[in-house]
């Protein structure tokens, strides 16, 4: 088969550059595998290895420094039938380290060729993540202070299924490339070579020294057995096939009649675990079941099971514009954590406002009327207080009716939860409240 190299764009590497050998070895590997340019995508990183895609008659994607594996992942997920080959230097390895680790963990069918020449060739020979500590490079003394990375050990530890060390002097390079490309999963080839333009001007590297240095590196042990598993894309498609399509968004029929017109603002103040947000949602659903527009905003800390929980609900027979609370007609106060977040609002309540509060909750002085419920005395658990407060509100025909609340429970809960909730609010209906 003919070469996949682009005859109208001959390579432009520095004389003696080891990248040239990788270029021809890769071409030989691809052609001997009978791959056509249309079946191959070369995704190249930044630096001298970033020139690779321009020398081939294949699909080509050249992007930002260190990010080649991210594009390659997107391409491979979109087109699992393509052979996706990534060329990256030891520079890309360092800056894109997180992507290298994650690609190993994913085991997506890409082949990463690390063109490892121990320095940043294009920018003047600065140290990279693989520069030996005793090398003389363009970063002054800095490389003496940092330990070079053996990407093969790292990749094996990160879950890669195919990792191999080789060099441009290795007679088996073409075969090594083929094995990596054929492998059904993520394969990483660490290819050592020389950078005559920068690195070997001040540092001696010979085929023998490369072989000797490589031999000193620890064996990768049984990583293949340890890491063996399905290829990511195949596993992804298998898992996806088991899933049921999501249900269409529920359309809430207006089956109830709202007891009030206009804009009604309700604020529920509580603490984590009191199902404050659920109560807010129930109120919105209750509103919608009477054909009202509804909006709900919630305020809670980023942690769960601790701290305040506040829900602000607006119901209105016309579309809701401003979503902030200006003049609440009802406040449900169930825990000091929530109350402390809205002290100013509570002090400013109008005489028309109604507060439903748990026994013992202290509120700022205001002209609002107050209903106090001793939930503990009624043996109601804290996670049910908000629902019970809604039922108390419904019993007064304020903001919502009992029918609206029941409609909301039906929309929100499954059968068992629904029945428990219904029996709870029916008990409330029988309660003698002050």
């Amino acid at each position: 088969m003919d070469s996949l190299l682009n005859s109208s764009r001959p390579s432009v590497f520095c004389p003696g550059c080891s990248h040239e050998q990788v270029l021809h070895a890769l071409d030989q590997a691809l052609t001997s595998m009978m791959l056509t340019g249309e079946e191959v995508v070369i995704v190249s990183d930044i630096g001298c290895s970033g020139l690779f895609d321009t020398f081939f008659n294949t699909h080509a994607f050249h992007g930002l420094h260190g990010r080649a594996l991210t594009y390659a992942t997107g391409i491979k997920m979109a087109r699992p039938d393509l052979k996706v080959i990534v060329t990256m230097g030891d520079g890309g390895l360092g800056i894109g380290g997180a992507h290298v680790l994650s690609t190993c963990r994913r085991n997506i069918d890409l082949t990463l060729l690390v063109l490892n020449n121990f320095n940043y060739g294009m920018t003047g020979g600065q140290c990279s993540s693989t520069t030996p500590q005793d090398a003389l490079v363009g970063s002054g003394f800095l490389n003496k202070l940092e330990k070079p990375l053996d990407i093969c050990q790292v990749a094996a530890a990160a879950g890669a299924c195919y990792v191999s060390r080789t060099s441009t002097y290795d007679k088996g390079l073409v075969e090594g490339l083929k094995r990596a490309i054929v492998f059904d999963g993520f394969s990483l080839l660490d290819i050592w070579g020389i950078c005559p333009g920068r690195y070997t001007r001040r540092n001696k590297l010979t085929p023998k020294s490369i072989e000797a240095d490589m031999a000193k590196l620890p064996d990768l042990g049984d990583y293949k057995t340890r890491n063996a598993r399905a290829e990511y894309g195949q596993a992804y498609r298998q898992e996806s096939a088991k899933l049921q399509p999501a249900a269409e968004p529920v359309r809430i029929e207006a089956t109830c009649t709202s007891p009030e017109q206009g804009r009604r603002e309700v604020v529920v103040l509580g603490s984590a675990g009191q199902r404050i947000i659920t109560a807010g949602e129930l109120l919105c659903l209750a509103g919608a079941s009477a054909g009202c527009h509804a909006a709900q905003k919630s305020d809670y800390p980023i942690t769960v099971m601790r701290g305040h929980s506040v829900s602000e609900i607006i119901l209105s027979d016309i579309e809701i514009e401003y979503t902030g609370i200006e003049n609440p007609s009802v406040v449900i106060a169930l825990a000091p954590e929530g109350v402390s977040r809205r002290k100013k609002m509570l002090a400013d309540l109008s005489p028309k406002a109604l507060v439903i509060k748990a026994f013992g909750i202290e509120l700022p002085i205001s002209p609002a009327s107050v209903i106090e419920i001793d939930f503990k005395a009624e043996k109601i658990k804290p996670q049910d207080w908000a629902l019970v407060a809604l039922a108390v509100l419904a019993k007064q025909n304020k903001v919502l009716t009992m029918d609206m609340l029941k409609a909301a429970l039906k929309l929100r809960f499954r059968k068992a939860e629904y029945e428990t909730a219904i029996s709870m609010i029916e008990k409330v209906a029988a309660l003698q409240l002050p």
């Binding site: 699909h59 930002l64 399509p245 359309r251």
Partner: protein, 373 residues
């Protein structure tokens, strides 16, 4: 028939699905996470792909690779993530990769307040790329816009082969609202124009009149080249100043010249008003309440709600403002889009109200400025 209770972020997800999105990648971040949750629920069962990247850079990188392979992609984040996207955004602009990017803005700077809203990224979205070329930014006001503007965003990304931002806000995205899904006015779905099979494919080739190159996906029978480097029409690096200038001028013109085709807005005209309030995003809702409350009083004002923020619809804004002596700009930052208004409306008195404290601007605050300047 009937209302649906839905969070803004969920509506963005459903809108994306309605627009034909088949690839999403994101990294969890409040207040954008529920977009990712929604896409994870909606996409894989339908044969689409939803990925969680190791970081924001990877997430948008996945999207760019998939977009060049023919998929309709979206990612979503907030301020800290948009900052990390920056380099990839520049790539998508310069190399003409369609992608929808949702920025659910939260109070900055930096990690700021994860659960507080703001519109603090409005200039950043336009200028947070290297090279300074135009981008499209749409700003939803409510849950309905979250659905419909997301669809528009996909269409524009396809039509112009560019990143399109949806500049949401925690106050729009994480507010649950009722929406009548059966009474929306969704746009026709658009697909990117593919290259003619009869001619050799030139990845960034355009004829004289054309501002957006025809597309072919990576992996087809004709070879595709994509590159972040300064390139000629063939997708190879060029150093020729003439070719470079042509490309840059085309990228500049393709959105600026077309903005009238995608200037989305709402308005509320009040007879006898000599003041025009201009607002966008969640603040437009307070502004609507404010102008309605004042429409029968002495100090009347009309309202213009901008939903296309970038490129600045300059002619449109000038025309809309022409009948008014004074403009009041309200936005949830300390003065960002007002800079554009000041630049355009040099002959008018411009009053500004902005706020960066994590709270909504109240209708009363806007009324106060309408009344007293």
């Amino acid at each position: 028939m009937g209302l649906t209770l839905m969070e803004g972020n969920e509506a963005i997800g459903w809108g994306a699905m309605a627009a034909g999105c088949n690839f999403f990648a994101g990294y969890p971040i409040t207040p954008a996470t529920t977009i990712y949750n929604t896409m994870l629920k909606l996409l894989p069962p339908k044969g689409g792909i939803c990925l969680q990247g190791e970081d924001e850079i990877a997430s948008i990188g996945f999207c760019l690779g998939a977009a060049m392979s023919g998929m309709k992609t979206m990612t979503a984040t907030s301020g800290p993530g948009i900052s990390l996207y920056s380099e990839q955004i520049s790539f998508a602009i310069g190399s003409e990769i369609p992608i929808v990017i949702v920025d659910v803005q939260r109070l900055g700077p930096s990690t700021g307040s994860a659960t507080k809203g703001a519109d603090g990224d409005i200039q950043f979205l336009q200028w947070g790329n290297s090279g300074g070329l135009p981008v499209i930014v749409l700003a939803p006001v409510d849950v309905k816009d979250c659905y419909v503007l997301t669809m528009q965003a996909f269409n524009l990304a396809e039509r112009y082969r560019c990143p399109v931002f949806l500049a949401s806000n925690k106050e729009v995205s994480m507010t649950r609202e009722t929406i009548d899904l059966d009474r929306l006015d969704p746009p026709q779905i658009e697909e990117r124009r593919t290259a003619d099979a009869d001619h050799p494919f030139v990845p960034f080739g355009v004829n004289d009149e054309q501002l957006t190159p025809d597309f072919l996906a990576i992996g087809g029978q004709r070879l595709v080249r994509q590159t972040s480097s300064t390139h000629g029409m063939d997708g190879h690096i060029t150093t020729d100043p003439e070719q470079i200038a042509r490309m840059q001028e085309r990228l500049d013109a393709k959105l600026k010249k077309s903005v009238s085709a995608f200037t989305y807005y709402d308005e509320y005209g009040v007879t006898g008003a000599d003041t025009l309030v201009i607002a966008y995003g969640v603040t437009a809702r307070a502004a609507m309440t404010a102008v309605k409350k004042m429409q029968h009083g002495n100090a009347k004002a009309s309202l213009l709600i901008l939903k296309t923020l970038w490129p600045v619809p300059e002619e449109f804004i000038r025309e809309q403002a022409a009948p008014y002596k004074r403009v009041v700009m309200a936005e949830m930052n300390l003065g960002q889009y007002v800079r554009e208004i000041q630049r355009l409306l040099t002959g008018k008195k411009i009053d500004f109200i902005g706020q960066m404290n994590g709270e909504l601007i109240k209708p009363g605050q806007i009324q106060e400025v309408i009344q007293n300047g």
